[in-house]
């Protein structure tokens, strides 16, 4: 057995090391970005199709927004909340029939070919308009893109299209893909969808299923001195509890999109060397919504819907399910939206007695067992919080005599059950607000949407007034008048309750404190990370 000896030299060396380690955090806070380094990030899903021009969703953006760039990115202090990326400026015509983009000069694709207006025209007409989940609505009236020279693209619309909408759509919908790669063969089957080619600060290097995605530095990037990082690795960690452990073990340096469970944040915020960041998701607000199937005769009755709204304790939901990392909702536009939100809508304070009275009034008396009627409740399986809210809603409904039976499905089965088969009475859904109600919000209440379109009104709700309002807003060019119409829209939705908005939440990042320039724009996790660096 060896003896434990303490030498003077060893002790000195040890204490020097200790001293140095206390000094480390201060070095980390130095504001001069350092070049080089490999950033390892937790990824909780593995999208197959990585083409953000086709699949405009956060799971895809998280990886491919570093490779494929958009015309403009969201910004905290830029004009209209935007900052230039591939486009330097954008101008809408007074008649709403065209928008002119001036493009950045000297940009090269990762394969060395120059980026030109032809790529923008190709992306808009061949990809965004016909193929993209969100672009189909927003660019529906786009008829042509004129390219008078290599650095100018003029979008032509068949009908007057509000410039405000196009502007708000730029950060999420305008990923530009290379024409020379995509013009041969079917766009949906192009191999570049799995190994994207773009103009971004990082090149796509490799993907190992179940293990990682690797991006490497683009030395020919247009941004001065950017990017700072040499490599980004997306380590696949499907288990949410493992992200926190991996951060603590320094196996990863960043876990975005609330990969660390909310309940763990308080503990992890006290771990030295880790920081919890709540900023950087302002442009990605998720809404916790109770979707309603209006085909059920009970739910077609406004009084019943009001009763359900009164039965939900929104403060409890925010405090207990979201542990305070959320806000209560008043209507279909989140409170943190700077352009459209209005608080001047009918509200439904938590009031069980009133809810019971409303149900009695509607003619659904309690039977001898205390129950009025039974419902099927389908909580969306994508988030822990949507599942927990399903459990809570079942209890809240029990308090007013509605017997809700929870039906659990996996993601694919849930989407089919709710949006294609309409086999639900109530569903809990997490739609996303994308900076403009016309992008993905009005579709939640508008009628006449074909079966099978996910995250749209599949509850059979039909309100001619609201439909007319949505149609009018979609062709109102004046920004102020258009904003006013959407305020009216919020009032009408809150009054008629085609769905019930409960809360709004965003995500949390946890990072080692050596990671710099985190959360410097409202869509940071899905932006290009050109200025992100690793200190120390």
């Amino acid at each position: 057995m060896s003896e434990l000896t303490i030498s003077r030299r060893g002790l000195l060396a040890g204490s020097a090391l200790l001293l140095a380690s206390t000094a480390l955090p201060t070095i980390g806070f130095a504001q001069t970005p350092k070049k080089g380094g490999r950033l390892i990030v937790a990824a909780d899903s593995e999208p197959r199709n990585l083409n953000p021009a086709i699949v405009a969703s956060n799971g895809v953006f998280f990886i491919s927004s570093k490779v494929v760039e958009t015309l403009a990115e969201a910004s905290f202090d830029g004009k209209d909340g935007l900052e230039p990326r591939l486009a330097l400026s954008w101008e809408g015509a007074a008649d709403g029939l065209s928008v002119t983009f001036k493009l950045r000069d000297g940009v090269k694709w990762h394969d060395g070919k120059p980026f030109t207006s032809a790529d923008v025209a190709f992306s808009a007409l061949q990809v965004w308009k016909p193929l993209q989940n969100l672009g189909r609505t927003v660019f529906n009236d786009l008829t042509a893109v004129d390219t008078p020279n290599e650095l100018t693209a003029i979008f032509k619309f068949a009908k007057p299209t509000p410039f405000q909408l196009i502007r708000n759509a730029l950060p999420a919908l305008s990923s530009v893909v290379p024409k020379h790669v995509y013009e041969v063969g079917k766009i949906e089957e192009n191999p570049a969808n799995n190994a994207p080619v773009g103009t971004g600060p990082f090149k796509f290097a490799e993907y190992k299923a179940g293990q990682y995605y690797r991006l490497t530095k683009n030395d020919a990037y247009w941004g001065k001195d950017e990017p700072y990082l040499d490599e980004i690795i997306y380590q696949v960690l499907p288990d949410r509890t493992s992200a926190a452990a991996a951060l603590e073990a320094e196996e990863i340096q960043l876990a975005a999109f609330s990969a660390v469970p909310l309940a763990d944040l308080e503990r992890i915020s006290k771990v030295p060397g880790l920081k919890v960041i709540t900023k950087g998701y302002e442009g990605l607000t998720y809404q916790l919504v109770v979707e309603i199937n209006h085909r059920r005769k009970e739910l077609a009755d406004l009084k019943v819907r009001q009763a359900i709204a009164h039965a939900i304790d929104k403060d409890f939901v925010v405090k207990t399910i979201f542990l305070g990392y959320a806000a209560t909702a008043t209507g279909p536009v989140p409170k943190n939206d700077p352009q459209f939100y209005t608080a001047d809508v009918p509200t439904y304070p938590f009031d069980v007695a009133k809810a019971n009275a409303l149900l009695d009034e509607a003619g659904y008396k309690r039977a001898d067992d205390g129950k009025r009627f039974a419902l099927k409740l389908l909580p969306a399986p994508y988030f822990n919080e949507t599942k927990q809210f399903g459990d809570y809603l079942r209890q809240a409904l029990a308090a007013i005599g509605i017997d809700a039976e929870i039906v659990n499905n996996d993601s694919a089965a849930h989407i089919k059950a709710v949006y294609t088969d309409h086999a639900f009475d109530l569903a809990v859904g997490p739609p996303v607000f994308r900076g403009d109600p016309a992008i993905s919000t009005t579709i939640l209440v508008q009628s006449g949407i074909p079966d099978g379109v996910p995250f749209s009104n599949q509850g059979g709700y039909r309100n001619a007034d609201l439909d007319a309002l949505i149609a009018k807003a979609s062709e109102t060019l004046d920004t102020a008048a258009r904003t006013e119409l959407y305020k009216e829209f919020q009032k009408k939705v809150a009054a008629d309750l085609p769905l019930i908005n409960v809360a709004e939440w965003s995500f949390i990042s946890v990072a080692r404190d050596t990671v710099g320039n985190i959360a410097d724009n409202p869509r940071w996790a899905v932006s290009n990370w050109a200025d992100t660096y690793l200190a120390g």
Binding site: A244, P261, A263, E266, I321, Y392, Q395, V407
Partner: protein, 276 residues
């Protein structure tokens, strides 16, 4: 009487019986001690155990009473375990008796089907079945029974093969009983004891399978299950480990209790056999 005394001679059997008895008491008393919905929100969320004596084991992430959930979870675990084992024994005994008694082609076919079921891991079978049909209590019971009937079928067949050569079976044939009548009235009852000896193992396995299914989110979402409780506690494992530990311990004790009591029964009957 002797047998009972012998059963209570082994300390393992006594421990097993005690655990089982308290478990059954828990399951029976659950609606009396904790009337109403065990999933109702009873207090502040994530209350640690032994802080508030009205909620002795604390509360989960939504503020539901963990003790109430534990009691009602015992009902689900026991109900599923017993029902699945009963179904498995029933199917197994019938298939085994038919195969053993009929012999020939019927035997071949039934045993190859049994082989087919035995080669597929029973948990995978249950997983696939529940994800296709959709989770509910009946489906979970069927799914577990689907993977568990092969053992009893093989034992029953082996037993029937020896019994069918006995004189009283030949006698029954002579007095003109129908073959099926002989199989199920004369042969099966005598072949049953060794098959029933398997029941403790099957019940224990069924309880574990049910917990595993619930843990993966494939249990009945409208009932409290221990597996579901463990799964829900997992997201807060570092901050509130008791949420997973409490139902986990209950699960371990239950399986242990069932197994020990079963062993005790087998031991006491075995002793009697060797004595006689």
């Amino acid at each position: 009487m002797n047998r009972l005394r012998r059963f209570f001679c082994t300390p393992e059997a006594v421990a097993g019986a005690a655990i089982l008895a308290s478990l059954i008491a828990m399951a029976l008393a659950a609606p009396l001690i904790f009337p109403g919905d065990p999933q109702a929100i009873a207090g502040p969320a994530l209350l640690p155990p032994f802080h508030d004596w009205s909620l002795p084991l604390g509360t989960d992430r939504l503020g539901r009473d963990v003790l109430a959930e534990l009691f009602h979870g015992a009902r689900t675990s026991l109900a599923v375990g017993l029902a699945a084992a009963a179904a498995a024994l029933l199917i197994g005994a019938i298939v085994g008796t038919l195969a053993g008694f009929a012999g020939g082609l019927i035997d071949e076919v039934l045993m190859r089907v049994t082989d087919a079921f035995q080669t597929v891991p029973s948990f995978l079978l249950a997983l696939a079945f529940v994800s296709i049909v959709g989770p509910s209590l009946g489906v979970v019971v069927a799914a577990i029974a689907l993977g568990a009937w092969t053992g009893p079928a093989r034992v029953a067949r082996a037993e029937v093969l020896s019994i069918r050569e006995r004189d009283y079976v030949a006698g029954a044939r002579v007095i003109g009983m129908y073959p099926l009548e002989i199989a199920f009235r004369e042969v099966l009852p005598n072949a049953l004891p060794p098959v029933l000896a398997l029941s403790s193992v099957i019940v224990a396995a069924a309880i574990l399978t049910e917990a595993a299914l619930s843990f993966l989110g494939l249990g009945d979402p409208n009932r409290v299950t221990w597996g579901g409780m463990i799964a829900e506690g997992r997201t807060v494992l570092r901050t509130a480990p008791f949420l997973s530990i409490v139902p986990g311990v209950a699960l371990v004790l239950t399986v242990l209790g069932v197994y020990l009591a079963g062993e005790g029964v087998v031991e006491s009957t075995a002793v009697r056999r060797s004595l006689s």
